[in-house]
């Protein structure tokens, strides 16, 4: 006999909306990568305008979660699920902000000539970051802690790419300073996107294991 139908339906809606937000985020990250590679001004504007959508998503998921907690007195797995939905929404929203930040920087690089190695590096980071976002969403869907562990490893690679910029930069070529600074900012933004994905894995662990700190 199925009980609490309304509650489960509402919880389902919250869940699917989070997945939609995640899917939209992945599209946006991919778009940001292309935007950088092509230094496409129009695409940058679209991404900047599109950030509102993610703010709305986040607000909506927060309100939904709050309402369920107030009205349905969820416990145990339901409670932990609602809490991490709200947290992950917040992470997604921050990641969308980072895409917006990247696009803003791209807009100021219109006439720049970017060294090939920098372009390839950023391209690599963008792909990996998006891949990590996808992995974190899968981790959430499947409640698979092995995937959460993989995220840690993938993050190491992104960190290395990020640090790589500093090493190369030390060799110092004055003419590229302007470009370099902007590229480093973009690199940092992608690295933070990757960090958020790792955090999402940690939230999934909380939901599965039920403890604030790992046992």
């Amino acid at each position: 006999m199925e009980l609490r139908k309304d509650f489960h339906e509402q919880l389902d809606e919250l869940y699917t909306e989070l997945l939609r937000m995640g899917s939209d985020l992945m599209e946006t990250i991919e778009k940001t990568r292309l935007c950088f590679l092509g230094l496409d001004n129009d695409m940058a504007d679209e991404i900047i305008a599109g950030d509102d959508v993610f703010d709305e998503y986040r607000d909506h998921l927060e309100e939904g979660g709050l309402e369920l907690i107030a009205r349905q007195a969820p416990v145990a797995i339901d409670l932990r699920l609602i809490i991490i939905i709200m947290r992950i929404a917040s992470h997604f929203e921050r990641m969308a902000d980072l895409c917006e930040d990247i696009s803003t920087v791209v807009k100021s690089m219109q006439s720049d000539q970017i060294p090939t190695w920098m372009r390839d590096s950023i391209d690599e980071m963008a792909r990996r970051a998006n891949s990590m976002v996808e992995r974190s969403i899968d981790c959430f869907k499947e409640r698979n802690l092995e995937l959460a562990a993989e995220l840690d490893i993938m993050d190491d690679a992104v960190d290395r790419l990020n640090r790589g910029f500093f090493k190369e930069f030390d060799r110092g070529r004055e003419e590229e300073l302007d470009v370099a600074i902007r590229v480093i900012m973009i690199s940092r933004f992608f690295e933070r996107i990757a960090d958020h994905a790792v955090d999402i894995g940690e939230h999934v662990r909380f939901m599965v294991e039920g403890t604030i700190t790992p046992e």
């Binding site: 489960h8 919880l11 389902d12 699917t16 802690l145 599965v208 046992e215």
Partner: protein
């Protein structure tokens, strides 16, 4: 540590349920099936007309029966009082010595006999009847013994009082050698009333909610303490009703009394072993054997009126007593 919870409810892909086939009435949210609704409406109309008629018919019938019943009752009371009230309320009559042959006289000893007899009956039957009822209701395990006891008491209740009278006469008056006296009558009347007292007491005890007993025993009381402190006090309205009923029957009983106590006496009975003449039996005496006395009928009528008044007053007292206990218990405001 993993918790495996079915994810069916969370995952997408719920089976769709079919909506019931209903017609939506207008803009409201009510979904009414026109066909069935029509049938019901028609039926209500038809039914209304039919039941209105039967309602009135039943009301008239019941009121008529009530009036007839009340009418007969008032008629009886009215006749008796009309015939004898004037005489019944004279103190000379109530307290005076009777004249066996001469005219006049009172029924003093008869009044005393009635009350004395009732008193003796009650002090014999109450302890036994209430005690038995308490034991059967609160202590004994339900089984063949309790069922047999109840069956016995119920059967006793169906025996005609004349039989009791003869039995009492044979056993108490003759065999035990008590002679015709109040005690013999009281013992017989006690037997006659035992089933009633047991019944009303057991009903009164059963009416006490078991939650009281639970609460009492939960506090550490034994069964007997619970009965004494909680159950009995709560059952008092019912028990006193039984007691007063007994008094009423003892005062009004004639057949038993004729066989065991006496029908005419010239002096006030002193001890339980004295012969006596309670009012009901005395009335019978005047009606059947009082030809010698010229105003026998007048005496009988007066006595009947007095007896009626006493019984009426007893009934009122029973209700007042019951209400008093109920107020004390808080079951009535």
């Amino acid at each position: 540590m993993r918790v495996d919870v079915e994810t069916d409810n969370i995952a997408t892909g719920r089976t769709d349920m079919e909506s019931p086939q209903v017609e939506i009435a207008g803009d409201t949210c009510e979904a009414v099936d026109a066909g069935i609704n029509g049938i019901i409406k028609e039926s209500i109309e038809k039914h209304k007309r039919r039941t209105a008629f039967w309602d009135r018919a039943a009301t008239i019938a019941i009121w008529s029966l009530a009036f007839i019943g009340m009418g007969i009752l008032f008629f009886i009371i009215g006749t008796i009082l009309w015939r004898g009230l004037a005489m019944a309320i004279q103190p000379g009559f109530i307290f005076g010595k009777p004249e066996a042959i001469k005219e006049g006289g009172g029924i003093g000893p008869m009044v005393v006999s009635s009350f004395y007899l009732a008193f003796l009956t009650v002090i014999i039957v109450l302890p036994i009847g209430v005690g038995a009822a308490i034991y059967m209701s609160e202590f004994a395990k339900e089984g063949w013994a309790t069922r047999a006891a109840r069956f016995g008491a119920d059967s006793l209740a169906t025996v005609p009082s004349v039989i009791f009278g003869i039995f009492g006469m044979v056993l108490f008056v003759i065999y035990f050698g008590l002679g015709w006296c109040l005690l013999a009558g009281a013992l017989t009347l006690a037997l006659l009333n035992l089933p009633t007292v047991m019944r009303t007491t057991e009903e009164a005890l059963k009416a006490v909610p078991s939650s009281y007993r639970e609460a009492s025993m939960g506090l550490g009381a034994t069964r007997w303490e619970t009965v004494k402190r909680v159950v009995l006090p709560s059952a008092m309205p019912g028990i006193t009703t039984g007691a007063v009923l007994t008094i009423g029957r003892a005062i009004g009983e004639s057949a038993v009394v004729i066989f065991t106590v006496g029908i005419f006496i010239g002096w006030i009975p002193r001890t339980p072993l004295s012969p006596a003449a309670p009012m009901a039996a005395n009335i019978w005496h005047w009606y059947t054997e009082g030809a010698l006395k010229a105003d026998a009928m007048a005496i009988a009528n007066g006595e009947a009126a007095l007896l009626l008044l006493v019984v009426l007053l007893l009934n009122v007292a029973a209700r007042v007593l019951a209400r008093f206990y109920q107020k004390r218990l808080g079951t009535v405001r």
